[in-house]
Symmetry: C2
Amino acid sequence: MNYEFRRKKIIKKLKRKGIDSFLTREQVNVHYLCPSFKGESVILVTKDITFLLVDSRYTQQAKFEIADEKGIELVEMRKPFLKSLLKLFAKTGVKNTAFEVEHTTYDFFETLKKNCRGIKLEPTKGWVENLRIIKDDEEVKNIRRACNIIDRAMTTLIKNIKWGKMSELDLANELEYGLKKEGSEQLPFYPIIASGSRTSFPHAHSTNELLREGELVIIDCGASCQGYGSDLTRTIGKNIMDAKKKETYNLVLKVQETAIKNVKPGVKTSDLCKLVREMFWEKDVAQFFIHGLGHGVGLNIHEAPSLSSHGSVNLKEGMVITIEPGIYIPNKYGVRIEDTVLVTSKGYEVLTGLYKNCWQASS
Amino acid sequence: MNYEFRRKKIIKKLKRKGIDSFLTREQVNVHYLCPSFKGESVILVTKDITFLLVDSRYTQQAKFEIADEKGIELVEMRKPFLKSLLKLFAKTGVKNTAFEVEHTTYDFFETLKKNCRGIKLEPTKGWVENLRIIKDDEEVKNIRRACNIIDRAMTTLIKNIKWGKMSELDLANELEYGLKKEGSEQLPFYPIIASGSRTSFPHAHSTNELLREGELVIIDCGASCQGYGSDLTRTIGKNIMDAKKKETYNLVLKVQETAIKNVKPGVKTSDLCKLVREMFWEKDVAQFFIHGLGHGVGLNIHEAPSLSSHGSVNLKEGMVITIEPGIYIPNKYGVRIEDTVLVTSKGYEVLTGLYKNCWQASS
């Protein structure tokens, strides 16, 4: 990863704003700006050098991980951590520091304000997140790998479902195991598996309920590669006889595929959402589509851009998003179909490739 | 769980402080105060009634989960969430609200301050955490179950290690799978498995490195039951010939067992830490003990009390803590041994029961 390039972007921002330094404790942002290890570390980017502050549990490991990275100096934090930070401020002579309002607690801010006399604290929002929104080739490669992991694990999983014998929790455990076997790092989220009427909960917790023929099962899962996630949902079933369920499934599938076909640079996310809502509206089920259409995927499984009716961004080449319409009939059943999609220069590429034919999947 | 009893304690606090309501978005605290489901929910405790605010994805599920709970009213949040909160403030007529400084971002606080005109925001710290520190019988039962899960999963795991053939990551995956098979919910943390010289990193990430005879392996893992965690570390090995490694192992074991024997109500955590440090000091290895002695375990895997040289609390009946001394020789090897321990009226009970003989474990 080109960490130095990213830090230079932050430094450019500092220079433009006339601020001396940028402070973050948000681990994903730390990880984006330097080769790191998801400890409880802190980064202080100054115009000349970036300081990585870690506590004693991580010193050895951090030394090893930043060995090849220029422009980073390791600082072992002593408790209380604040003291180390104050020392660093004194050493570098910074007069002010940008902090992230979304990742700084009221408590930490007040403590800083009280103790960092003479250091002005400048509230900022989204400096790193706005860089993260467009993925470079290496990031896309990692997300693609994470998508392939899901495809392989899900293919095996679906083949081996024992209807009537496995519970939602059993399936979740097998899936998690399979995702790791296929090469996933720590999963970005625990698989969401719901069956029967619990499919009407968009974010159900898996239970001991057995998977039954004739009932729908929603499987929503992610994998991770070099910290980058992937996200996929399939709704499957065996011997589904209920015409309503089939009808809903086919509608959600059609809507999802239509939305994906409309992905290209310049398209407004709000227009994609509108398109989907109108398609559901026509079939009189819009009130059962109770969440956003999708979200960005990267170092966080949910990141910018958000595809919802609140706010809109123009899609750009290099964004990676999910498209995941769903219909949830309260206390009856639900259907969601989701893929991870790359915005390309000419349109889109679906990175998750698993088949979508619910009934094929279940045979 | 006696959620109502817990809410009454918060209400008592509100009355004593002359504050109308208590607001939290911290999911673990929400979960402590009402039967909930780990969504992105918000709770507003007022003197008469508690409001649970959830977004539309969770409404159905939340209805179901709080069905038997008196004194809770469900509110579906519309985006932007703030609007729902302001409406609720208006409806209840609260004039001020306590918020948690450790769990409120600068951003959210500023937004509240700007929008909640006429509502005074009262900073608070640890109201719920201080209740959580002493576990009731049902909580202990859940932690005990989570400890038993680890014992069973680890026993099976250690038996089945294929030295020279399995990697750290393979072992982590098998362990995770085994913990779930034994009944764990979502793990409180991903198993930390380090082998060879990487055992000198207290919080290593598992790698593709194979587990080798003659090298130590640290396995640190947790399980979860009804949201309550358990935590255990063992250091194992096969055909360890190096006398130094054995010596360190036996020292850490002796120190850990001595520390546990000193656990009882009234003991200062700082005295326990001092005892351990002195024992290491005598053997001239105190500089290699680079983290705290332990931490509380409950709904969070790390919670109060912290057993470190910074600050001290008196142990009380009903606390559940870990005792986990470790020695880390840079670039060479490390040893850590950890158990989850209940403070009882007369002393202690070790809740994790797995054997500790490193060499037995490895045969």
